[in-house]
Amino acid sequence: MEDLRNKARELLAAKAVQVVVGYGRGTGASRRAVFIQSAAEAGELLFDNACRQNLAVYLMKPEVRKLGKMALVAIPATLRTILQLASENQIQDLELLALVPDASGAVTQLATFAAIEAHVVLQDNDLSAAEKGELQKYEIMGMEQRRQFWEEHFSRCLKCYACRAACPLCYCSRCTVECNQPQWIPVPAHDLGNLEWNIMRAMHLAGRCINCGDCSRACPVGIPLHLLNQKLISEVYTHFNSRSGMAAKADHAMSTFKPNDAEDFIR
């Protein structure tokens, strides 16, 4: 932890960055994002297992971006988000630093996309065994059971868009849900609007989501949104052998194709 604080002090003092986005004390045992703009504040930085938010979300917030060059305390998901955003032309190389604390508290500083790529390949980027197991649980359910499961969950959706705000890849300045000519998605939070909103979001994240899970954590009514994303992560990987957030220049699964992409339902 001290390593991280020292690193932040050093970077801020040398004006190598203008802001260090990291984790600080939240309510109870939780951790929240802190924006350290001077060496004196660096003591607020924390790093432990409770640090789970994907801070890359702030890369796409104009109010944070205007603070200046950013150093980002990064967990594995954050690094992949950075690469994914880079591949979507949203950030440039050398525009930010990633600070990666390891289990011992030592901090690795990654200054380029190439360095991040080299770090990311060594991570375990697959869905975890537990995640796969959970997915499977729903996959083997009957269709009707699945429908009821989601109907029950979506009936609680408030259309508050917290999932969208928490998602680092939902950076569009105009979301489809805000298009009203035509009105693609009904505004009220009724069953149809909620279903369409969630299908639309999952489709727009297909081949892009890096599985940080912040959508589910942000949802005030506890909809397991991560399941939708994980399902499509698994489909995209199985069918197209493609995984998001692995390189700063990449072929996106949904905007490329292979002539021999296999399916068994188009007849």
């Binding site: 979507e88 032309n89 300045s173 105009r174 996106h252 905007s255």
Partner: protein, 671 residues
């Protein structure tokens, strides 16, 4: 408020027999926004069109729906009629109630109901149609011809003679292609070079043709009428302006034992060489791989003796850029080489040669000066076996197609051999004889009947050497499949015609498609045989499929005519059904977030990056822009865009959304 006119056609009885057209027209008149609704026996007839024109003028219509046949049939007719009455043609839509309704359903309520559903859907769409203007694109009236074989030569001359500029690019040091290697040509047996070289000279001297030999296409961007090309002119290692082509350097060059490409490996050439005496341009090239100076740093003999000091050892490749309006691809073909017929000993036995090698043996300008002498020992072969279909029509060799030219040239080879070696015995092993063409069958019969060429209907199972002879094994299938062995002195394999090495890479540079065998694909196998799927790029000759000379020349003239048609207009007019990225007022400028996920999905590379800058030149954002010249209007990017920032004219979000709702009788257009 929309004022839509609906015109329901009976199509004689084609529609009215199963659809109650009166009811449809009557119901359509109740759709909100419909100002006029009528039915008529033949909407496409003159009086029918006049009804539409009159209604547009009298009722001040803002859109027209013609409920009749398929838009693939009469959309242009009715759009023209609308335009004549002053209505933008893109405000006219067709409701297909014939092919998709009256013809496929029995007479019933349901059929009439469906016809009305279709009309209502198209009314909903047309209300949201926008007046569109055709896109006009200027045309650069210079053609690029790739490949200087007979097809490229013919295409270049025809285009040049129609008064347009031509840039002809040939990768070898001389134009002429495979035809210049041939001895005589079927079915007339006139000398190939005698008929070809005058054309080559004409190319060289034509004021409208710029020839870049020893050059290749490096890259190409742009679109029909407006291509930008970069041509790599490989270093010849001499100053072409100074070189007079005297040939002194070629005579004096000390490294003379290099296998000659022109002689198909049967002859030798020096390191500084012209491929053949009638080469155009008649300027040598230094083969740097074999030149003593490039290998050891010593020699420079050619430099010393050159009377005009034209040798340039330090010359580098040159990149030439040009603006081009159309491209003719005439890059030709090759024949199958290599370790392809181990059972025939091809590549193993010196006296098992391919068709092109035989052409060089038979050619008066060839390594044997036209005498048929076998490569191994220079003896005149007394028995020669010609094997047709060596690889062609053989799925086991991966070549299912017929190479088309081999039957004829094999007959020619056997004849030429017999004409030169009177007592010689030529045998032809064949599967079928395909001699379709003017005077072709007669030619083959002449080989058999007048020149006594023995035709044996048999595949060859194996060829091997035994006691200095090549044993050819087969089975005469016309004589009870009796096993058969012929001891030959020379075997000529008519190896399959295949695509040029590098055909795939060139196709990618040009964005044209190719078939499983890397031959370039025509836009339509019957009706558009010289066009490719990329507008402005045409095909000529054997790069599309193996072809003989008359066919290649005919196609080349066809491609040239297509180029001339294109160049006869100063502007190209295209349908404006293309994608557009939205623009908005500052500070947003566009809802596009510049993720460019659309970019790789475009088959035409039409999506470009556009930088939005403020007055001081500061970059505000980078957004997508669709090049209207390149976009063909597939709409793949439209469906992909998450912010719905790209829309496609004619099939816009609003239009198709309204169609879906109207078809199901929902939304604001329901009745």
């Amino acid at each position: 408020m929309a004022r839509i006119g609906v015109f329901v056609c009976h199509c004689g009885e084609n529609i009215s027999a199963t659809v109650d057209v009166k009811k449809v027209a009557e119901a359509a008149s109740r759709i909100p926004g419909v100002a006029h609704s009528v039915e008529y026996k033949y909407m496409c007839s003159d009086p029918g069109q006049q009804m539409i024109r009159n209604a547009i003028r009298e009722k001040n219509l803002t859109g027209v729906v013609v409920a009749a046949c398929s838009p693939r049939m009469h959309e242009p007719t009715f759009r023209r009629a609308c335009a004549e009455a002053g209505l933008n043609p893109f405000l006219c839509e067709m409701a297909n109630i014939r092919e998709h309704c009256s013809w496929v359903h029995e007479k019933s309520e349901a059929t009439t109901h469906k016809a009305f559903d279709i009309v209502r859907t198209l009314v909903a769409k047309v209300k949201r149609n926008k007046a569109l203007l055709p896109i006009k694109v200027p045309v650069t009236k210079t053609a690029l011809v790739l490949g200087g074989g007979i097809a490229g030569i013919q295409a270049s001359l025809d285009i040049a003679n129609s008064g347009h500029k031509v840039i002809l690019v040939e990768k070898e040091p001389s134009i002429g292609g495979h035809m210049s290697q041939l001895s005589e040509t079927f079915p007339t047996l006139d000398c190939s070079q005698c008929i070809l070289t005058p054309r080559m000279v004409e190319v060289a001297q034509h004021p409208n043709i710029t020839l870049h030999s020893y050059s290749e296409l490096e890259s190409m961007d742009g679109f029909i009428g407006n291509f930008k090309v970069r041509i790599r002119k490989k270093a010849r290692s001499l100053d072409e302006k100074l070189c007079t082509g005297c040939g002194l350097c070629v005579q004096k060059c000390p490294s003379k034992k290099i296998s000659s490409e022109f002689d198909a490996g049967l002859g030798l050439r020096p390191a500084i060489y012209v491929p053949f005496p009638q080469a155009v341009p008649n300027k040598p090239v230094i083969d740097r791989e074999h030149c003593t100076y490039y290998r050891t740093g010593k020699c420079r003999l050619c430099e010393k003796i050159c009377p005009t000091q034209a040798i340039r050892f330090d010359q580098e490749d040159e990149i030439i850029e040009a603006d081009i309006g159309a491209v003719v691809v005439a890059t030709g073909f090759d024949i199958k080489h290599g370790d392809f017929f181990p059972e025939y000993g091809y590549g193993k036995y010196k006296d098992v040669i391919d068709g092109l090698q035989f052409e060089r043996l038979a050619s008066a300008s060839g390594p044997t000066l036209g005498e048929i002498r076998r490569p191994s020992d220079g003896q005149v072969p007394q028995t020669v076996v010609f094997v047709a279909c060596a690889g062609s029509r053989d799925p086991a060799k991966g070549i299912e197609y017929c190479s088309k030219i081999c039957c004829m040239y094999t007959a020619k080879h056997a004849m030429l051999y017999k004409h030169k070696v009177h007592h010689g015995k030529p045998f032809v092993f064949y599967m079928d004889i395909r001699a379709g063409g003017k005077m072709y069958e007669e030619f083959v019969r002449r080989a058999m009947e007048e020149d006594g060429v023995q035709y044996i209907r048999s595949r060859v199972s194996r060829i091997y050497e035994r006691g200095g002879k090549l044993v050819v094994k087969g089975a005469d299938t016309l004589l009870g499949s009796r096993p058969l062995e012929i001891e030959a002195d020379l075997v000529v394999l008519a190896t399959a015609g295949v695509a040029q090495a590098g055909a795939e890479q060139l196709a990618q540079r040009l964005h044209v498609s190719f078939d499983a065998h890397k031959f370039y694909a025509e836009a339509h196998p019957k009706l558009r045989p010289v066009e490719t799927n990329t507008a402005g790029i045409f095909l000529a000759g054997a790069c599309q499929a193996p072809k003989d000379i008359p066919e290649s020349v005919a196609q080349a003239s066809g491609a040239a005519a297509k180029v001339a048609i294109l160049f006869s207009q100063s502007e190209l007019v295209r349908e404006p059904l293309i994608a557009v990225v939205d623009r908005q007022a500052p500070p947003l400028y566009s809802s596009c977030v510049g993720c460019f996920l659309c970019q790789p999905s475009c088959p035409y590379q039409a999506i470009e990056k556009e930088e939005i800058r403020d007055r001081d030149g500061q970059l505000i954002k980078t957004i997508a822009k669709v090049n209207p010249g390149l976009c063909q209007g597939c709409g793949t990017c439209v469906a992909l865009c998450r912010t719905k920032s790209i829309d496609i004219q004619g099939f816009s979000h609003e239009q198709v959304y309204a169609e879906v709702l109207a078809l199901l009788n929902r939304g604001e257009d329901n009745v």
